[in-house]
């Protein structure tokens, strides 16, 4: 499991294979087949062995119960984006989930999404369909930019390592969310 994580964060999902994994772990690859049956089984075990999506998000600051929905969603997006930018394993899994479908990637997908929504629901927020779509859309945008950045293919001159650029993106998210919730009846809470 540790060897798999090391390979993922170091070389990316394209470097994952039976031979490479056994080499990294310092054991013979036949053990992989003996214990996990196949690579798929190992991925499934990896999926069950750890929290794929560290739940940094639900440490959302406590908001007063009457805080506007827009503030909550904005905070969620910013925190989640920052966490994603710092978590290179999550980035690699996201990259993988865009390319391949295996027990690990589907599990990661599920975990990621549930996590964000749960953060809201735990506060008694039951977002409607459009709100969910908006959150997903913006979060997806942040993920996309982050992945582009971490493979050194930044979009235009937007360097997400530059604090100014991060600030710009976050400001835009704030404004988008704020505008989205204006002229929209407050969603029932609690």
């Amino acid at each position: 499991m540790d060897a798999l994580e090391r390979i993922l964060t170091r070389e990316g999902f394209t470097g994952v294979g039976v031979n490479a994994l056994a080499r990294e772990a310092g054991v013979d690859k036949v053990l992989i087949y003996r214990y996990f049956g196949s690579m798929e089984g190992l991925l499934a075990a990896f999926r069950d062995s750890r929290e794929l999506c560290p739940r940094v998000v639900d440490v959302l600051d406590e908001f007063p119960p009457d805080a506007p929905m827009s503030a909550l969603v904005t905070r969620l997006l910013l925190k989640s984006g920052r966490a994603f930018r710092k978590n290179s394993l999550a980035q690699e899994l996201a990259r993988w989930e865009l390319t391949d479908k295996n027990p690990l990637t589907v599990a990661f997908s599920r975990a990621m999404e549930k996590d964000e929504l749960r953060s809201l629901e735990e506060r008694g927020v039951r977002p409607d369909g459009e709100t969910v779509a908006a959150v997903i859309l913006l979060l997806s945008g942040v993920h996309y930019l982050t992945l582009r950045e971490s493979v050194k293919n930044p979009i235009l001159d937007m360097d997400l390592n530059d604090p100014g650029t991060v600030q710009l993106v976050e400001t835009v998210i704030e404004k988008l969310v704020k505008g989205f919730f204006e002229g929209r009846e407050e969603v029932p809470r609690g």
Copy 2:
């Protein structure tokens, strides 16, 4: 060139290699080295051989010169998103650009971005930094969802093949953009 495109759209970028490409093209792989020097050279040639990002976007309907910025941007995002969803080659290149860096992927990145911005600038629109960031962010979100969809890892139950879901996403984009431009002075037009 045609063989490369076939492989990309059929098996994805992971299926691209000297052997597979020569096999698909029905020639010996040594010709690849003779004519292009290496796989990199071939990718560069492919990049120069065609319009990587079909400029569907600049067939934006003619808007009256006093059309609000929000309408223009919304239209751009929807058209661009739909075009991307129909273009499996562009999807594969986008997937590749998130994973690897080679002459083809960097060129694709550039082409994609310039295209969107040019669509605006050709109409005399000189978007400020925040507007550019907003467009990029939303477009990135659409790309992410599209890629997730086309690898059969849809987010939550959002099936982009379902017209209703597409409608929902597009509605959300409209509302986000509309809200973003409200309470913001009109940007000077050409």
